[in-house]
């Protein structure tokens, strides 16, 4: 298996094709445009479809239609574009369809800026659109993980019939690292294993109707309750967290995505200076790895959450720890990337204040 040098955005696109994604519907926006550009070059060569829609709203509704037919499909965007897709994601979730969405986050709110950020955490995990629903959220933290979790996102979306989101950020999208892909033949998906798909009944079965509209309140309630039963299974089986040097850690730093790389450098420096620090890195943001985080914080006296935002994941850390430990926050926002030395300085202050 040959190692190649790839940008995070390219790795996402190539991994999607290798996962059998047959249709990509997109619209350019910095810093995720390489995904579209890569798909435009590669999709025609492997028998897939690349379509640049007239807007983000159009792109997500094309995903809605394509997913209804049982074909693996995806869209990608960056923060403001993801907001535009919100309505469509809600319809897809309300119709119990699998699809993959990529958000390469940039600074917000509003038009914000093109520099990296993690300020769409609440949107991804709490309110990707209106209504009672959740989506699976993966937060890779290296270019190799961008490749690995794309396939997983498609598989889990299919298995649980719900949208899955890859939540990356500008740094991960733009940085380059070596990547290895499994050597296997690319096989485009079809609807053969999806009995619910609107893929042509051939006079052999009744029509499959894909819909998120219910005329009776109790009927809609039944579907919503059923869907949340499925989420219980998702919460049971999917949570993932990487813990690093947490076995005896007194201060656990919790961070995800690219910031986890910065936090790791800070934790290593803290250890070198004799502070027992560890890193807890959630890989799934929904379902949140609550048990895994509690296990990682077993010996911790304090927890520091660090993010490229004003503090969003910090809510989930507090909920998971059930307020048993003091949880502090350090973040930079607006496209500013925190320095490992800044995180380290905060760890030292927390250690000193014991």
């Amino acid at each position: 298996m040959e190692r190649m040098l790839m940008k995070g955005n390219e790795a996402l696109a190539e991994a999607a094709i290798r996962a059998g994604c047959k249709c990509f519907f997109g619209y350019p926006i910095t810093p995720q445009t390489e995904i579209s550009a890569y798909m435009a070059k590669r999709m025609p060569k492997v028998g897939g479809v690349f379509l640049q829609a007239e807007s983000e709203v159009a792109a997500i509704n094309m995903v809605y239609g394509c997913a209804s037919s049982g074909i693996r499909c995806m869209t990608s965007s960056s923060s403001p574009g993801i907001s535009l897709k919100g309505e469509g994601v809600s319809y897809i979730a309300g119709s119990d369809l699998p699809a993959v969405i990529v958000n390469v986050m940039r600074g917000g709110p509003g038009l914000g800026g093109i520099q990296p950020s993690q300020s769409d955490y609440w949107q991804a995990t709490r309110a990707m659109g209106h209504g009672d629903f959740q989506i699976i959220v993966y937060a890779p933290s290296s270019v190799q993980e961008m490749a690995d979790y794309m396939g997983k996102a498609f598989n889990m979306a299919d298995r649980f019939r719900m949208p899955a989101l890859i939540l990356a950020d500008g740094l991960l999208g733009q940085m380059m690292e070596p990547v290895v892909f499994e050597d296997k033949e690319i096989k485009m998906s079809d609807a053969s294993d999806k009995p619910w798909a609107a893929s042509g009944h051939g006079n052999r079965r009744p029509h499959n109707i894909i819909n998120s509209l219910y005329l009776q309140a109790d009927e809609l309630e039944t579907y919503n309750v059923e869907r949340f039963k499925r989420y219980e299974k998702v919460k049971e089986e999917l949570p993932e967290l990487e813990s690093y040097l947490c076995e005896d850690a007194e201060i656990v730093v919790a961070a995800y995505g690219s910031v986890a790389r910065l936090a790791k450098a800070a934790v290593e420096q803290a250890r070198a200076e004799g502070i027992k620090a560890g890193l807890a890195r959630p890989i799934t943001l929904y379902p949140y790895p609550e048990r895994e985080l509690r296990a990682a914080c077993k010996t911790a006296k304090k927890v520091l959450v660090t993010e490229m935002s004003m503090g969003q994941m910090v809510d989930d850390v507090r909920l998971a720890l059930e307020c048993r430990l003091p949880v502090e926050f350090f973040g930079r926002t607006g496209g500013v990337v925190p320095k490992p030395s800044e995180i380290l300085a905060k760890v030292k202050v927390m250690k000193g204040a014991e």
Binding site: R3, M6, E10, G107, Q115, P178
Partner: protein, 217 residues
Amino acid sequence: MFDFGRAIVITGHYGSGKTNIAVNLALDCAGLGESVCVVDMDIVNPYFRTADFRRLFERYNIRLAAPQFANTNLDIPSLCIDMEALLNNYDRVILDVGGDDSGALALGQYAALLNIRGYDMLYVVNKYRYLTHNPDEAVGLLRDIEQASGLMASGIINCSNLGEDTTAEDVESSRDFAEQCARTAGIPVVFTAAKRGLKVEESYPVDVYVRPFWEEN
């Protein structure tokens, strides 16, 4: 050092290592006592670009000309560069042209001038880049860049690397690829670049200035 013209145009697939080559060439030329200007011509990539090295260039008295809004939050690729003045005022002008053929389109506005004043356009190849890992694909992109810019490449720089993890063997085993690219394109390999310290015979030693973001300088 090398027998290049006053204007050196560095092109290549993004991620081939263009920016790091441009920075190394600039520092080496400045080291020889030349007055040097680096032009960040990248109108496509939002970050990881030559304009990141403003402070390094200042230390060596190298002039940086960059798009007006490079490294800001504005996604507006406005290039206000008086190329003729730069060619008149500096011994060496190094143009770092990012963004594949779409990026090279911006170079076209200077094609007439560069054709009169003379230039060397060098095409940077990296065997380990996925979309250009066979010579036909690599030369195909070169042709697209030439067409978009209206300029012709005169040489190939072999900058095959896997980022941080690059070994001497990775570089050695890329020479065939570079030679095949050169034969297909009908131009010579001007040098193979290798990170200083790697034991690679007959290579142009480069320092790695493009660093991972979690390393502080």
